[in-house]
């Protein structure tokens, strides 16, 4: 036992080291590249064709309002189209004989994919045909990620610009460039690599074969690799199959597992570089990256410890916390995936978080409650972290009695109001949603477990939805009209209210001039600032969620 545990720890450390080395090597060139993508004046020929066909002007600098309206317009059209695609599935080709989704289910999945959440109430292999998956879900996997990137870039431009009358960029140009220049090329390469590892890519239906022992089993078909790649790269998380990345056809080997973890982290961890380049001070990017990295490593260490140590009645009875985990990944690679997926807005799972140890499940919950900022979703991670940085500057300013400023922008009453609203939206959705659901009948019907773990299941569902994560304590039966609707509202508000607030903030910053630094200005590239931002992120979560966490995972951990 002792030697196998040692081997396990070494394997975990070497896996993490590989991941960090590759991310470190890639984030500078990718970050620089993304800064160029969102700053270059020239359009590609194919992009110009797209703008002409869609009849949009990619060169008009939009105010934050104009940007928001375009974003909402695109998202509304996406929502309706995906709803229709789900409802009309029975009439469309490649449907594998599946019926249309019911209204509540179609609403939930449309909201889920348009908001980059990918909460799944349905089982992919039993409800969604190939066309719905590839022309519906996968399109939104790319589109919603590009939207997130665009919003982050609008905020960064707000910092980088001065006196522009609230002009923060052009939504259409950001959308199309994000798709064509960043997401699609990387996803294509990743998809081919995944096929090499064993992820399927065909358009065949499910076919019954006779197994070796004489039973029967269906051989599955589907364009899985193309969807899997963008599912991770766009921090979406909606699995082709019910078992998500635990399914051997989505994640067949230890190296595809590492590749998928890399994909879901690579853009979020590269964006601080993009930010540093665009605001003309790379040290600012390093500081943001430092906070993200510190929180990430802490989460990975704690979660790995929890799963390898395996406290709790069931792990003790089994000898290890292997319930819900795959043999090829084992404990450590499941924990690494678990941290990466909940610290980004991905929500893909290679093991069942509901069956994690009590402290382990609690860590995945806290990861999401942090607002998914370390490194967070594609785009949303950067703007979420910048909000915390602004809050930190403001609090520090209060302590020393000076007007706070960040990157030469004053944090006045208007700015801090938007920041405060941003910080309040998600907790409000989580706590009200959870609170109502543990009182009303249809809410109480959801959880699989009773007692503290039942509360954890509901709390996890609303935390995941409001933060646009999409993972679940899967025991909860969420495919009911009540949860489809309630979680749909949480996802929608949890995505677009923060987006509107961030764009409003970007507009205010872009309108401001540049305030020169004085000796009293708090430097925002130092280790002290990194520590402060991390502390503020943790304190905000603690103050908001400690009561709810105490009744769920904490009680479980202590019992």
């Amino acid at each position: 036992m002792g030697t196998s545990t040692t081997a396990e720890v070494w394997s975990a450390a070497a896996t993490l080291a590989t991941l960090l080395v590759v991310l470190a090597a890639v984030h500078v060139p990718l970050g620089n590249y993304m800064a160029w993508v969102y700053s270059a004046p020239r359009h590609l020929r194919v992009e110009r064709a797209a703008y002409r066909a869609a009849r949009v002007d990619p060169d008009a600098e939009q105010t934050w309002r104009g940007y928001l309206f375009s974003l909402l317009g695109f998202s509304a059209a996406s929502l309706l189209a995906l709803y229709a695609l789900g409802r009309l599935q029975a009439l469309l080709p490649l449907n594998l004989g599946f019926t249309g989704l019911d209204p509540a289910g179609a609403w939930n999945s449309a909201v889920s994919f348009v908001t980059n959440t990918n909460w799944q109430w349905y089982s992919g292999e039993a409800a969604a045909g190939h066309l719905l998956q590839m022309a519906g879900f996968a399109v939104q996997n790319v589109g919603s990620a590009a939207v997130g990137l665009g919003v982050a870039m609008a905020l960064v431009r707000g910092f980088a610009r001065s006196g522009t009358d609230a002009r923060v960029g052009n939504f259409w140009s950001d959308l199309v460039r994000g798709v064509l220049r960043i997401l699609l090329p990387i996803a294509f390469v990743a998809a081919v690599l995944l096929v090499a590892g064993g992820v399927i890519q065909n358009f065949l239906p499910h076919t019954e074969v006779t197994t070796l022992a004489g039973g029967s089993q269906n051989v599955l078909g589907g364009p899985v690799a193309s969807q899997e790649a963008i599912k991770e790269l766009g921090t979406n998380g909606g699995g082709f199959f019910n078992a998500n990345s635990a399914h051997p056809y989505e994640n067949p080997t230890p190296w595809t597992n590492l590749l998928e973890i890399f994909l879901l982290l690579v853009i979020p961890f590269s964006l601080p570089r993009t930010f540093g380049v665009m605001v003309g001070d790379r040290r600012q990017g390093w500081a943001i990256l430092g906070v993200m990295g510190a929180i990430f490593l802490t989460s990975v260490a704690l979660l790995t410890w929890a799963e390898v140590a395996g406290p709790g009645a069931a792990p003790h009875a089994a000898g290890a916390a292997m319930e819900g985990k795959e043999t090829r990944f084992g404990l450590a690679a499941s924990a690494l995936f678990g941290s990466a997926t909940t610290l980004t807005s991905t929500g893909a799972v290679n093991s069942l978080h509901d069956s994690f140890t009590a402290p382990g499940g609690g860590i995945t919950l806290v990861d999401m409650m942090l607002g998914e900022i370390a490194p967070g979703g594609v785009g949303s991670g950067l703007y979420g972290m910048l909000i915390v940085a602004i809050l930190t500057v403001f609090l520090a300013g209060l302590m020393v009695g000076r007007t706070p400023q960040y990157l030469g922008k004053k944090i006045g009453q208007g700015e801090i109001t938007l920041v405060a609203l941003y910080v309040l939206v998600t907790p409000l959705l989580v706590l009200v949603g959870t609170g109502v659901s543990v009182v009303v009948g249809p809410g109480l019907a959801g959880p699989l477990a009773t007692g503290p773990h039942g509360l954890s299941e509901v709390l996890y569902a609303f935390t995941s939805a409001a933060n646009n994560n999409g993972s679940a304590f899967g025991g909860i039966t969420s495919g009911t009209p009540y949860y489809d609707t309630a979680l749909g509202i949480a996802m929608l508000a949890g995505r677009f209210v923060p987006v509107a607030l961030v764009l409003a903030l970007a507009g205010r910053f872009a309108s401001q001039g540049k305030t020169p630094e004085t000796r009293g200005t708090l430097p925002t590239h130092t280790p002290v600032f990194v520590g402060l931002v991390g502390a503020v992120a943790v304190v905000v979560v603690a103050l908001t969620f400690v009561p709810a966490l105490s009744l769920g995972p904490v009680v479980e951990s202590l019992s």
């Binding site: 292999e125 399109v139 078992a243 009875a317 699989l448």
Partner: protein
């Protein structure tokens, strides 16, 4: 904003303009969505499938194998996929086969219902299931219940886990050898041949592919 002091009548046009602007961008958004759907929803998966078909035809089709253990892309020749676990009867039946892990996907290894139990770490139901499986596995393999490894008593996340731990494979050697009237050393050698170590020496966990092992076993005859 300062408009809050204006009268409702004056505030009306901006609201109307906002709605009109939202409508215009929704229509533009729909046109853009159609374009993106053609590129991302049709061309992209087709292109990946095209490359996959040329470069990795076997993997793209599902890593299928025939009863002789050969790779195939034809479903009519296949007994299944080496990536997908199969039901070999657990644990007191199918003594001549190596068994996979407990599966809660449908009635066991049902690919149309991939799933884990989702039971929590303190769940009395899960503890009871684990105890029951431990007793059954120990009885079938004639070993001390305390020595039964964790993967033999827990359900995987997918319910389709194609692997077991080397420890669980080793534990089953004697039973399988007896049922097939084979020399245990022969069966043990077969298990050793099917042992997959950590990738590159450190990625993932050591494991044995149950279907691949059973295919080799069936080819031994007896």
């Amino acid at each position: 904003m300062s408009s809050s002091v204006q009268t409702a009548a004056v505030a009306q046009p901006p609201a109307g303009r906002a709605l009109a602007s939202l409508w215009r961008s929704s229509v533009a958004g729909l046109r853009m969505l159609v374009l993106l759907t053609v590129v991302l929803g049709i061309a992209y998966p087709l292109a990946v499938a095209g490359v996959a078909r040329i470069a990795f035809p076997w993997q793209a089709a599902g890593s299928l194998v025939t009863a002789d253990g050969d790779h195939t892309t034809s479903r009519s020749d296949a007994v299944g996929s080496v990536l997908i676990g199969q039901d070999f009867g657990v644990p007191d039946e199918g003594a001549q086969w190596f068994h996979g892990r407990p599966s809660v996907a449908g009635d066991g290894y049902d690919t149309l219902a991939s799933a884990g139990s989702n039971l929590g770490p303190l769940s009395p139901d899960l503890v009871a299931a684990i105890d029951e499986r431990r007793a059954a596995v120990a009885a079938a393999d004639s070993v001390d219940p305390a020595s039964v490894p964790a993967d033999a008593v827990t359900a995987s996340g997918s319910g389709l886990d194609p692997h077991v731990s080397p420890a669980y494979a080793d534990e089953q050697v004697a039973r399988v050898a007896t049922a097939r009237r084979l020399d245990p050393a022969t069966v043990r050698r077969l298990v050793a041949q099917h042992l997959d170590g950590r990738t590159l020496g450190y990625l993932g966990e050591p494991r044995v592919n149950v279907l691949a092992l059973n295919l080799a076993l069936a080819r031994l005859g007896a």
